[in-house]
Amino acid sequence: MNLFGDALAWIFDPAHWSAGPDISGHLLEHLGVSGLCVLIAVAIALPIGVAIGHTGRGRGAAILISNIARALPTLGLLSILILLFGIGLLPITVVLVVLAIPPMLAGAYAGIESVDRQTIDAARALGMTEWQIIFRVEIPLALPLLIGGLRATALQVIATLGIASAFAFGGLGIYVINGLAQHDFVQLLAGAVLITVLALVVDGVLAAAQRVVVPRGVALGRSDRNGPPQRARATRPRALQEGMQS
């Protein structure tokens, strides 16, 4: 356990924050590249996922894609693309985006799909256009699951970027890789701690956002329910709901 103390001392050693490519530089690199890749993945996957959830078409393909992506080893994908395109930001960005799309896609279509069909029918009956239904009904109600998809995406990207350090990319994984190569276990552990803290902080921020964005009506409906939350039904009055189940 003493190694932990050494690792913390290493992390807080001012020398590791000031000279050359220091901790803050690698941290910013890790955050910046992760952010960029998550943005690209969201820009691609969110519209497709919403379309799949709204129309119900292409669901099988989306499930297939996310299953295959789960089986694909990130290390393998990285090594192949780097061998094909050379060391650099581009192959790493491509791999990260490819791996980030499936969880975002899954979150998007599952979120939209979870919206109660009767709520959507009600919106349609009120005369809303399809675009209004998507932006005013489906997306607000799906936000918790959409952000859930974003959380999974961000974690995937941060973790994969840690591995990318093995292929001559900076980032926080560099301390793990260097630590292993030099048998410097303090630096190794310090790198692991830094990556873990980054992942936990990003996940915590998004988890807080996930809580904040729940529409008020949904939050009210959820509080008196047992077991896992069922967002889909929460906007319906209870009496109506019970009447229909009988």
Partner: protein, 231 residues
């Protein structure tokens, strides 16, 4: 693709497939076994549920390369010990499976549990005779996800020098030899598929009633949309 290399290295490829199997099968099995009592506790008590699911969530959040380093320090083993990979993968497996197991036991109808109690089942009889078998379909769905991701994440072990299929990726990078990386990816995908087939076979054998039930259950799901529309 360099087929000659594949042909002359079949022994190496086979050996690494076996190593990969040996490193991934224990975490999947241990993850399942540990998650059953934890998931049952989580399905029984709200407090246990929120504690177990948040701990699982935090553990799952730790990136694989970091967990591989953190595990030996916490456990006190050597950093390059291959068992660390088994331990780290077990942590992930349990972290994912606890949620599935909690959902699995929550999916057992309350009426069925009450009926079992009414006809005189003891607590243990009820658990092994009624709740566990009825939880199998959801448990199975969870363990299939776990097996696929375990096989894939295990390759990261190559970075800490633990030999398995992932070593083909680091070797390929060091030697600029694409064939090795492709062999590694294909072998991992095949292995994941093999696990999946085995698990779904086992699941089907354990739930002989499920095939009939699935046909019965299919009809109301399809008709639910028109009913909503007609209101």
């Amino acid at each position: 693709m360099n087929w000659v290399w594949i042909g002359s290295n079949l022994g190496l490829i086979g050996g690494r497939i076996l190593e990969h199997l040996a490193l991934t099968a224990p975490p999947i099995v241990i993850g399942l076994v540990l998650s059953i009592p934890l998931g049952y506790a989580a399905s029984r008590s709200k407090v246990a549920r929120s504690i177990l699911l948040s701990v699982g969530g935090i553990l799952y959040t730790i990136p694989s390369i970091a967990l591989l380093v953190l595990v030996p320090v916490v456990v006190g083993s050597a950093i390059l010990d291959p068992l660390n990979l088994v331990r780290a993968l077990t942590v992930y497996a349990v972290a994912i499976m606890v949620r599935s197991a909690a959902d699995a036991f929550a999916s057992v109808p309350k009426d069925v549990i009450a009926s079992a109690t009414a006809i005189g089942y003891s607590r243990w009889q009820r658990f092994f005779g009624v709740e566990l078998p009825l939880a199998v379909p959801v448990l199975l769905a969870g363990i299939r996800v776990v097996s696929v991701s375990t096989v894939s994440i295990a390759s990261v072990g190559a970075l800490t020098g633990i030999d398995q299929l992932g070593s083909f990726f680091t070797d390929a990078f060091q030697r600029s030899f694409l064939t090795e990386a492709i062999v590694g990816i294909v072998a991992i995908l095949v292995l994941a598929a093999v696990y999946d087939v085995i698990l779904s076979r086992v699941g089907r054998a354990l739930t002989p009633w499920n095939r009939r039930q699935r046909e019965v259950m299919a009809s109301p799901r399809v008709s639910s949309a028109p009913i909503g529309g007609s209101l």
